[in-house]
Symmetry: C2
Subunit: 195 residues, 2 copies
Amino acid sequence: MVGTSPKANSKREDIVEIASRLFYEQGFGATGIKQIIDEVGIAKGTFYSHFQSKEELGLAWLKARHHIWNQWFEDAIAGKGSASTQLIATFDFLASWLKECDYRGCAFINTMAETPNAANPMRGEVMSHKQKLHERFQELAGVHCQDSGEAESVSQTLGTTLYLLFEGALVEAQNFQDSWPIDAARSSAQSLLEN
Amino acid sequence: MVGTSPKANSKREDIVEIASRLFYEQGFGATGIKQIIDEVGIAKGTFYSHFQSKEELGLAWLKARHHIWNQWFEDAIAGKGSASTQLIATFDFLASWLKECDYRGCAFINTMAETPNAANPMRGEVMSHKQKLHERFQELAGVHCQDSGEAESVSQTLGTTLYLLFEGALVEAQNFQDSWPIDAARSSAQSLLEN
DNA sequence: ACTAATTGACCGACCGGTCGGTTTATGCGA
DNA sequence: TCGCATAAACCGACCGGTCGGTCAATTAGT
């Protein structure tokens, strides 16, 4: 065989895939290496031949999570018509995603919560992820303001406000284990978007 | 002496006080009993004569935190004039509090993040705290709407929107380790309050 | 036969929690 | 005021288990 037939996951990918699920469901700190290697079906030493440390695996998790989550986000708003329709669709996406994950919340926010040390590299991944999401909201708001003839300065403010509502709804849905905050945020967003 | 002169803290209060600081700064899961008793200056057995378990101490922490934080909140908005002025003052309070705690964020949100098990009693404390804060925002919004002759149905929506902005700003200030989200939320709130 | 990958026993440190023993405080009869 | 019994508070060694991480030995692939 040249190159292994059905392109099975590499062992490193297996580790990241399984660790990602456990880190998200249980938290990074609460998940031990033992559980990860048991579920992957490898020995401790094999794991440490792929990763220098648990933290390196944590970084790989967050990097992968960033891409997967962004994909979900973009898929959910793609081809939804106008920018304002897309912005509203982000709240529908939020509701269906959080319901599916049983209101476990955002991997990045949860990780930041258990990472008080400013020097922890995982913090950088959180900030970078949120930075890009914020920019995406501003981009969508920018298109909306162009569509409706608003000033550019307004779009910055609007994008940030919608982003804060999105994040607020996300964390409150987790706190209350219910989607009512998302419904409320969606309504607020609708009011903000109709001039 | 009748009743011990300067009314020194009871040992149980000492434990809660010190544990509260450590739980908040480092996280509940990341803080060990050992560190708590060392800093209080008591032995393990003494601790377990005051608390059945670490979780019971965690509950005592959150209950105490609820009262202390509410006090901060109320003190910061008391005597600020109209309800709309008070609502804006909540964002000023948010900014000064988060700066003071070095953007460690909300003890309840952080605890929820590291508590995926739905049966964990600490979750109830989080939900109860946030429920009351949400109600407080709705109450303030209700007064504002009365002042400005708005309908009652609007005040519910307004209170929830401001609450979501408040919480969103709180968690994003933590993510970015900066107060710009609070400034942005304050501006949004101001727009929402001037009809 | 040689190399690369994999193994799991093992390391010291720490986890939450228990328990038998010791110290300290109190009450009381004399 | 003293001696003593009782009880409450406190102590820290110790429990089994888990933590992240290492490494010499073994296996598998070529």
